[in-house]
Amino acid sequence: MTEDNLLKKASRGDETAFLLLYERHRDGLYRFIYRLSGSAELAEDITHDCFLSLIRQPERFDPKRASLRTYLYAAARNLAIKHFRHAGCEVEIEDSPEELQSPDKYEPLQKLLDEELSDKVRQAIAQLPPLQREALILFEYEDLSLAEIAAIVGADTSAVKARLHRARARLRRLLGPYFKSGFLVASLEVYQP
């Protein structure tokens, strides 16, 4: 059954159809907003609002224009931007290492190193300009194509490419010590079981 049919059923009260759609897209939306804003609470709110607005106005989704996934990401992005404007500034990145679920394969020291590295990456991405940040997150973490990202952010693919290029260049500068110093390699060699 197509997502368009599922959406129509869900909007008429079919809970099974809604659950199918929800479970299919919930994690991606949550991750995207969390990485974009750095706030788990905001990610929760925006994810909730996205699905409810989808059910409230299903006619806004046109399957001929884009997939439901693209539509939801675009809606989430718009809600995030609205929130930032209303808040007046970008949301501060929250340090919440306890929420991270890093694999507990290694010894505690490795785990600590991993968490530190994860935190460094998070901080580096947070320093990117918003347009570069969202393009990078959608490309690297959500595995969307350039065309899909362009549809979400309302730009053309060449602009998205340029933003990605700039974002990567900046991240290489910010995270350079973790490449050149061999920090990453060393941690794997010493603590790999």
Binding site: E44, Q101, H165
Partner: protein, 197 residues
């Protein structure tokens, strides 16, 4: 700060439109750096959505769809039916339609059966009662053929025998100007209990 970022970003975007895309074809160093960067970026993991989010979304969804009128919910509710069950139902419906169609055709082709029914209806029997009345007429005057047609005797008297008079019966009739009816209209009186004497 947000405005500054936006201005910078806009400026960069304007500059970057002409950025050559040859870098995407990738020099070796570029691709190595990209793969290292990619593996580094993967270190940043996001948390899973909490279960509270699921509960919150479902509560809101049910509240939202509960506003739909009952008739619409009933009409638009769908029931999932496994394919074998659906196929069996369709087969039963087709077979039933076929059988019913055959039966109705069979009924139409049969000849109508004529059943004779004898119904006894009692009809009242009318017995005509014949009443004979003797009318006496004076023949005192001889009549010619012409006179025969004139049947108006001037004076007709009728006398009764003495013995009858002796009993006290007086029967006297003056038939002056008597003219028998030319036309006789007989009226048959049906036998009923009222006419019974």
């Amino acid at each position: 700060m947000n405005t500054n970022n936006h201005e910078i970003e806009q400026k960069e975007a304007d500059e970057l439109i002409d950025v050559p895309l040859s870098c995407w074809d990738g020099s070796h160093e570029e691709s190595m750096a990209d793969s290292e960067l990619k593996s580094l970026l993967r270190r940043w993991q996001s948390p899973h959505p909490p279960r509270a989010l699921d509960q919150r979304v479902m509560i809101s969804y049910r509240a939202q769809t509960a506003r739909l009128p009952l008739w619409r919910r009933i009409l638009t509710t769908s029931i999932s039916v496994p394919i074998p069950v659906a196929a069996a139902m369709v087969a039963v419906m087709v077979l039933g339609t076929f059988v019913l169609t055959r039966k109705s055709d069979g009924i139409a082709q049969q000849e109508p059966i004529i059943v004779e029914r004898i119904r006894i209806v009692e009809v009242p029997r009318v017995e005509e009662k014949v009443v004979t009345r003797i009318v006496y007429r004076n023949r005192s005057n001889e009549k010619t053929d012409q006179d025969k047609q004139s049947i108006a005797p001037q004076n007709i008297s009728l006398t009764i025998a003495d013995e009858e008079n002796a009993k006290g019966y007086i029967t006297g009739a003056d038939l002056a100007g008597f003219q028998p009816n030319r036309e006789m209209n007989l009226k048959v009186i049906r036998k009923t209990d009222e006419n019974e004497k």
